[in-house]
Symmetry: D2
Subunit: 282 residues, 4 copies
């Protein structure tokens, strides 16, 4: 098996050799290791991949690693098998560019995830789900039915055993009802260079302010709007010659690429969240 392990814990001596030793003893060959120490915070982070050809299992690893290593170091850790593709639900509203971009990467094999369903508060993009033969759920949402709608979201996420959710320009606020079940597992794309222009209509605000560069930001969703841990950002130059419509068109290219990069990092288990920030292993 190929096992990816993500670890973070209070920094102390000997963690790397202890962990690599453990894996070596269990017959694992470490084929990738990257680590990071946040010195001001005193936290150690590590991502590693190990190959086992001796029949050692993930279940055994979880049990032995926890009792023999992790407990001693107060580690928070996760382990993933490469062959297990994470299951990702996509929520959309009416814009199709991010959805098309994700699905074409999924279709070409670049995005190694399963997509059990697409959900929307509108029916506009059902045709794309149909094009790619992915189940589509229409869950209208309004002030009146928000609670029921969220229960329906949770029901579908559970039914389909979804691992994480991508908000591909889903123009609704996701409340703590859902976030609490999927902490650091809901990825949003915001169409500004956060923390500038949080909230609604960021391109209009950027145009008004007269910025010379616009951006897009992908982040994990937390309760505070547009304030969660940033996974990926990118920017593009603009000038006085660009109208708001031009900002929006240029922004579409940013949004889809930034979101896809963030989703890929998550799918590859390269992100760790700590103190409302991310460590991104490369």
């Amino acid at each position: 098996m190929n096992l990816t392990v993500l670890i973070h814990c209070p920094d102390q001596k000997g963690i790397i050799s202890t962990v690599t030793n453990f894996l070596h003893q269990k017959g694992g060959n470490v084929v990738y290791l990257d680590q990071h120490v946040d010195k001001p915070a005193g936290v150690f982070f590590m991502r590693l991949e190990a190959d086992f050809e001796n029949g050692y299992t993930k279940a055994l690893f979880k049990q032995e690693f926890e009792s023999q290593i992790a407990a001693n170091y107060q580690m928070k850790w996760q382990a993933f098998l490469r062959k297990e593709k994470p299951r990702m639900a996509i929520f959309v509203s009416k814009y199709n560019h991010c959805l098309y971009d994700l699905l074409s990467r999924y279709h070409s094999g670049e995005l190694e995830a399963d997509i059990p369903f697409i959900l929307s508060n509108h029916t506009d993009l059902k045709y794309i789900a149909d094009q790619f033969s992915i189940p589509f759920y229409h869950v209208p949402i309004s002030k009146a039915n928000r609670k029921e709608a969220e229960q329906e979201h949770l029901r579908l996420l559970e039914e389909y055993k979804v691992d994480f959710v991508v908000l591909a320009r889903y123009m609704q606020i996701v409340s703590s009802t859902v976030i609490d079940v999927y902490p650091n597992k809901i990825i949003n794309i915001h169409h500004s260079f956060l923390p500038a222009f949080a909230g609604a209509k960021p391109y209009h605000a950027a145009f008004e302010r007269g910025v010379k560069i616009i951006g897009a930001t992908s982040h994990y969703v937390t309760e505070e709007l547009d304030a969660g841990p940033i996974i990926e950002q990118d920017v593009a130059p603009v000038s006085h010659t660009h109208s708001i419509k031009d900002f929006i068109a240029k922004g579409r290219d940013l949004e889809k690429i930034v979101l896809s990069r963030a989703v890929k990092l998550h799918v590859q288990h390269k992100t760790v969240v700590y103190n409302n920030k991310t460590v991104i292993f490369t």
Copy 2:
């Protein structure tokens, strides 16, 4: 003579042909023309350069253009002779990177301005002024003496017939006392991607927020802190591996390049300010 003219006025038909016709009749050859219409605001902008080989003068142009053209179109306009180098004062505190960068471009002829003096509230950088044989004035500033210090600033700016001021990491707030005398003529460099992280310690705030890109912004100084018209911005990628110290080091490279670009645009009369935004002709 080579004359550069910057114009803005309410948009209407026929402005370009009227202006180019006028110049043609006066014997001018238009060697550069760029224009822009801000359609939502209904404002027309134009920058042009014309060569005259017939002895026509700037003084005559100013008189005739105002009476024959500008008044009819409610134009706000400025005219500059290429051979007249603008006179630029530099204000600094203790950081040397922006100062060095400006002076080395000045020294190599890349920055076609005169630098009558450098002013600081500290004496730390006097040695650089000495290296380049530029007069240096030390004007300490504190709560107690702020008014007197600003009068001294104004006195020096007047005495040396300064056209515009560059705040090359001058860590003091410039008040309306000075701004009102130099409207859209004081250029600041702020070490963030505005409007994100306005105010003090932007690199610390950026680090805290966990952004993946940092920036620098050069803008004209207005009364509201870090809220003036943006001239130029640029960014650089960062990651969790960068400490605040790394942010600051990377930021230095951004600051000096963004400030120098903004100063060059101003020196070449390529900027027009309107509605707290800039039109930048290229």
Copy 3:
């Protein structure tokens, strides 16, 4: 009518005022004007847009402008009505990313062109043409049938009154038989930062050389392979951690964006070719 005019001619005095005057006299309002002088080459370039509300026609403009203005200045010029969408054929082979990107921009109205047909030497991408309800032609090509295939290309281009051709990762060389009929009207995307890595397998060559940045280049097709006038380029960082497969995946994002930008510039009549280079009006 809204008329866009592209002009280039030997540089001399008074061209701008002469042209804008002419348009003014015919009742046109110049709403956009940009010009450029290549001083070493002594060539003047201009792009302008004029609105006419008096019934003046393109046919009349063409006749009067040629006889009254263009002939005197040895101008090469073109005029386009905004309402006339250029007709663009797309040639593809087996890669779908550029085709999808162009079609989604076309579909959303961002790309103001008509697409009368898609042509391929394979049938792999027929399904995409079907998705968007665009006629698809399969014209296999081999050493043996190249001449016949090219005749079929020309026949289709003529039948559908195609204005320009986009090679969206069409993996075949287009010969002078077709180029001569469409000079500076065939747009290619090459998956390298030209002139580096012209020819086959540029990502492999870039990987082999150990570059730290990869690129993509869109250019007009000329007889010499990958040596035509460059319209647009962009780059992305790479490192030793990227495999050739990673180069190719990153490159796909570059290719589709660079090609789409180039196609948009062409569709908006913002490109002029001169001396195997382009002037790109913005």
Copy 4:
């Protein structure tokens, strides 16, 4: 002591745990570890930093690591003490921008190296060496005296115990006489995006070709001109509005930043050369 170790060797199982174990047994705490496997080439690379507080010495490490570990794995490896600043000679000709940039970083403590001397084939930049109180050697070079000049270079490099050489726009070819003594230890800045425009006058060639992006490349010097392992590259956009003079001015900013980044990576022992490519640890 703080020890940085750079290793590369044929890839095999257990290297990471073997090395980290060894360090742990000697009382070292691994504070940084990054590794890379070039799978097609079958080569393992690792960079690590370890703190020792038990009096263990570099001399002892070198002996024990070689005999107990490195020999078994056919490792090529280097070890550096953090407190030992590498000694760097700078060669220049007449351009001052790269020299100024390096020296100002050195002066501010950003570049943790010693600079025992600056050498030039001209005397134009002696004044800068004087400003920073660094010994300056004028070694004229011509066809006639090339051999003698190179012997003088080698004599100075040896006398001053120089670890590596930076060619900061040194406009002379360095021959194998010197390269063989400093393999992968001479850093050059080439003013193009290599491999495009190798050789003389790259900005002229880039202008002629009509590229839309220019670049700069820093690389280790090998016998083949501009063909050595690339350390760092960066680019800047250009357009038809830029003259060759503009290319050169924009290029200066690229050159100095790309060279400084490359020098910092070398100084921090973050580069490994293999197969004429670099692995850059970050």
